[in-house]
């Protein structure tokens, strides 16, 4: 309760000050719309469905791409951790690709797939897969060897060891890699949506882009706020429960 109160007063005061500064003409309204302007833009575009449609399209791209990135990254990470051959080859490639900002895949994706959903899908996968793969690999490598030895003396072998010991022991690493992968995927999707127009659907990035073209600052700021909120919400809803579970079990910080 007190946290909410602190939150409300902090942002309430900031917003009120902003509103006053704009209405008094200290900040030019064309460049800095008042919070009420932004709110009215958000209200109307929610009601006429442009915003909800865009949010849905963007989230669908993100979730599908991220899910595919995860589905690829996890087994690839296991492969690199398990086989020396893949560590020196695939592992190195992953390190390189992770260093490449995934928006750099956009020109290639456009030429390969055209202005399609597939291009977006590809860019989001490239944003997430390497982080997840590398985190899975280093998570498995950082497991204290005593865990596997202890499991062996208790009769655990092969698949059982991987499922019941290696994977759970590496979980904290894997989750932080998933989080990083999510952040990369989200950034690359936004960049791609601003950069590439896809006829089958206008996402939040497109709206942001058109906001600039039409010089509609209320739209630009409003959409930025929505993007921030989506980021916060996914962190709270998707990762926070898992992370707090890990903190409780492992007794790591918090």
């Amino acid at each position: 309760m007190r946290r909410w109160l602190a939150l409300l007063t902090f942002f309430g005061v900031l917003t009120a000050a902003w509103e006053v500064l704009v209405l008094e003409g200290v900040w030019p309204r064309v460049l800095v719309p008042a919070p009420t302007d932004i709110a009215s833009y958000l209200g109307t575009s929610f009601l006429d469905g442009t915003l909800t449609g865009a949010i849905w399209i963007t989230l669908r791209r993100l979730i599908l791409g991220y899910a595919a990135g995860f589905a690829l990254g996890l087994p690839l990470g296991l492969l690199v951790a398990k086989f020396k051959y893949f560590e020196g080859t695939l592992g190195l490639a992953a390190l390189g690709f992770q260093a490449l900002p995934s928006i750099c895949w956009a020109p290639l994706a456009l030429l390969w797939f055209g202005q399609t959903e597939t291009a977006m899908f590809f860019i989001v996968i490239m944003g997430s897969v390497w982080s997840i793969m590398l985190a899975t690999n280093s998570g498995i490598r950082n497991i204290p060897p005593i865990y596997v030895r202890a499991a062996r003396t208790m009769g655990s072998r092969g698949v059982h060891t991987w499922l019941k010991v290696v994977f759970p022991a590496a979980l904290p690493f894997i989750v932080s890699g998933m989080k990083q992968g999510w952040a990369f995927a989200w950034r690359s999707l936004m960049a791609a949506e601003i950069y590439i127009t896809i006829i089958t659907g206008f996402g939040l990035g497109h709206l942001l882009h058109y906001g600039r073209e039409l010089h509609a600052m209320d739209a630009v700021l409003g959409i930025m706020i929505i993007i921030i909120l989506i980021g916060l919400l996914t962190d709270r809803l998707l990762f926070w429960p898992v992370e707090s579970y890990i903190h409780r079990r492992w007794g790591t910080a918090e």
Binding site: R152, T153, M154, R248, G251
Partner: protein
């Protein structure tokens, strides 16, 4: 006077038999013979301590018995069967508790039980609970591992090791990292549990007093090459108090023997 009896190789059916086991390691300093023709037998329900300086190969021997390492030559039999791999008939308590932090206390104790197909869920749970009761941690069944103290963690490790009902329990300096007070309490508890359940135990330590307190027999190792040099039988009634005078006499004699073999070993290296 205390009696010092040298190893008599009994040919009776031993619970655990180590026959002519040798092991050499390649290190940056060259070849190190960790174990040189080790032969020993442990009878059912016997508590044997392996005592030696660090690096004498006693942990290697324990790992070989556990099946975690393969000897260069020689064989190990547990309950008459040759050891070829690790298995739940030989449970190990490591220096560190090696508990799984992603499982609760009872989850850890049930890990090995879950691998026994012949058990039902109910019997597994009951067994795990009874072993936790045995080590005095029934109230912490659902606790997370990080919430336990060092001594409690080793108690859970003991419960986990006892739960699959092993032929032999292998303990590798399990109390080494605990404070003196906790350790003394665990000496008492371990003796108590051993008296009640009569497990066969091989206990590795570098602490002569600890060995004298816990063991029926204390085997003294020398290092490089790792050999069994001497054997002491501890004929004191149980439960033994680590601070008692009689125990101190034993441990003094054992320490003296340990030192003499240590010097002897160094001379051999010097030659």
């Amino acid at each position: 006077m205390m009696e010092v009896i040298l190893s008599s190789r009994s040919s009776s059916k031993a619970k655990l038999a180590v026959e002519d086991v040798s092991k050499t390691f390649l290190t940056s300093q060259g070849k190190v013979q960790a174990l040189d023709n080790i032969t020993l037998q442990v009878q059912s329900g016997e508590f044997v301590c392996l005592l030696g300086p660090s690096g004498c190969g006693k942990t290697t021997l324990l790992n070989i018995i556990a099946g975690l390492e393969i000897p260069d030559s020689g064989r190990v039999f547990a309950d008459g069967l040759p050891v070829t791999d690790a298995g739940s008939d030989r449970q190990v308590m490591f220096q560190e508790p090696a508990l799984f932090p992603w499982l609760t206390v009872i989850g850890n104790v049930m890990f090995a039980l879950n691998l026994k197909r012949e058990l039902t869920d109910k019997t597994r749970r009951e067994a795990a609970e009874s072993y936790l009761r045995l080590v005095g941690l029934e109230r912490f069944m659902r606790a997370n591992i990080h919430e336990l103290s060092g001594g409690m963690k080793q108690r859970v490790a003991l419960a986990r090791a006892l739960a699959p009902d092993p032929v032999v329990l292998l303990m590798d300096e399990p109390f080494g990292s605990l404070d003196a007070l906790t350790r003394e309490q665990l000496y008492g508890d371990l003796q108590d549990i051993w008296e009640k359940h009569r497990r066969t135990i091989v206990f590795v330590t570098h602490n002569a007093r600890e060995a004298a307190c816990l063991g029926d027999r204390v085997l003294i190792f020398s290092s490089r090459p790792g050999r069994i040099r001497e054997q002491f039988e501890i004929r004191l009634p149980r439960p033994r108090d680590i601070n008692s005078v009689e125990l101190a006499e034993y441990s003094t004699a054992i320490t003296r023997a340990l030192k003499s073999h240590l010097n002897q070993g160094e001379e051999e290296v010097g030659e």
